[in-house]
Symmetry: C2
Subunit: 360 residues, 2 copies
Amino acid sequence: MPETEAPRGTPTIREVADAAGVSRATVSRAFSRPELLKPSTVEHVQAIAGRLGYTPNVAARALSTGRYATLALVVPDIANPFFPPLVRGAQQAADQAGYCVFLGDSDESPAREDVLLGRFAGQVEGIVSASSRLAAQVVRRHADRRPVVLVNRDIKGIPRVLIDTASGITAAVAHLAELGHRRIAYVSGPQTSWSNQQRRRAIQRASSASGLELVTVAARRPTYDSGVARVLDLLASGVTGVVAFDDVVAQGILAGLATAGVSVPDQLSVIGCDDVVAATTSPPLTTVSARTDEAGRFAVELLLRVLGSSDVRDARYVLDTRLIVRATTGPAAKIASRSANRTTSGGGRAMQAGRKIFGS
Amino acid sequence: MPETEAPRGTPTIREVADAAGVSRATVSRAFSRPELLKPSTVEHVQAIAGRLGYTPNVAARALSTGRYATLALVVPDIANPFFPPLVRGAQQAADQAGYCVFLGDSDESPAREDVLLGRFAGQVEGIVSASSRLAAQVVRRHADRRPVVLVNRDIKGIPRVLIDTASGITAAVAHLAELGHRRIAYVSGPQTSWSNQQRRRAIQRASSASGLELVTVAARRPTYDSGVARVLDLLASGVTGVVAFDDVVAQGILAGLATAGVSVPDQLSVIGCDDVVAATTSPPLTTVSARTDEAGRFAVELLLRVLGSSDVRDARYVLDTRLIVRATTGPAAKIASRSANRTTSGGGRAMQAGRKIFGS
DNA sequence: CTGAAAGCGCTAACAT
DNA sequence: ATGTTAGCGCTTTCAG
């Protein structure tokens, strides 16, 4: 490599040292450990550095110290309104600690998530993985290389922050029972989602505790369209109340019901989950609140703590939730079983859909 | 620094070289320039490296080459639904090119954005700044240090991709004029937003071209609540149609109108902008479509091109838009001027609001 | 409190 | 086609 005499883009520590008449070590300390220097020296060096527009080269620093001052945050789908607030919370916490954050979007694909984690592992100090779709052992493999903190995924031995929607769901079922509902539906989310499993289990338990009949309708992807598409099944199932995997699905259901001429909450009650979109639907959605921004913030704070002292093992933060009653729930309709004939698609198709309902 | 004999976390290039019986340069080339090596050598080295779990140290590589393989994307508010799709598009494009992306959220604050850009400048190859709230000269200063590509901000000399909502807005006004509206309102967005200026100008031009009266109501922050809060002003202004800065504001307006018992589109027509949320409102929102995901994708592709050959100067991509008519627009209501007295807050307050309307 | 100097792990001339 | 070697810019013992 040829000698580079010409002053390049940004000045190096050496140029600052020369200009300030001190050694490179002193300049370095002026930036990273000013307490080791005489205040006047620090001031002097900072002044010169400022005038020259010097900024420490992060790559050189990282190479030398092994510390990157970066974090990675990976989510299954940034376009899902559940995640932006979480990202924001994580961002702020990272920022306060002087960390920059890489964002990764796995597009709901475990394979892509695996690739992302692998790629990030090489250039960050730690990783926050939200709603991971990866197998536990794969997560462990990554966590073996770099500290990993999970959000809404419960794997023993890996620090995690969990939004306990179970409590809110339980309240939701109780709410429906109180309103006189006897038969309700759960519209489920991604099979590989921990949240979905948690919610399904909670609603099953709560239903049988309250003596309610429960049917499950699978929505797979937690999208608006997916919610719309499940309306037929719902109508055919003869339920008077439905709890959706999340607000987005619930919103789709609301829209589908409106199209089908079914009034909410008079004919059917709908409850969402996460409270990410709930205040903006019409009617305003009754939902289970979740402080997703806090989850993000906690996750990086936890990660930071892990990085600080590696003896934080098996931490498990649980954030509780509660039911927020808005306008989509009401007394159970008189007619317990609604025929799907009122929709234009005809009885045959509805029956077909009806069979599918009990699958998962 | 003491000699580190013990094999550390991840193997270094030297260990792979030793194990493979080749020089470090060969290992390096096997990863970065395999075409310079005999295929069999590449294979051999890769095998050994794989077995050892070797991964090139990015910091070392960055320090040596000056290339980071990272990009930064900064947005004013990731929780604003306009941005997630854009982030996603950017992400995908970066990913395809093997780049990792830092995300920054400026929280709508120019000062924070400035800090973020400065911080990122030191550790990325280039920056995409979406809807920058920074003064042109500040942006230029950053662009001077690192390649910057702008989204929805038009600064001469800086590569940018612009979503031309003007065309869609013009169509929107024409649409309203056709429906018989004579007096309409524009609910504006952030003063420092280029998009807002563009939209305001477009609607002014189109209104006078169609002979429509236009009043402007300021919403400052483009939020749902802000939209709700502007409903009183709107009702007091006696308009029959309104164009909102974006879908989120429009959605708030819709909600506020519903609360006030004003029916849409019978009594008032509402048009949004961006089409980010429009299909999920009720009634479905008539809006100006914008391919935000493409904007994100284009921006990083453009940035990558700038990085490749630095002779891409003053590029200016414009993505066009069009009006999507859904269910919130209809014929102008008969009664041109609605009194605000029907709201509970009383006439005095409404009048006060009425005066404010014409401010900006 | 400050300086000298040895690396951190990798790449890129320059040899061969 | 592969090896040698000199840094990239910074931090950090170890001396003084």
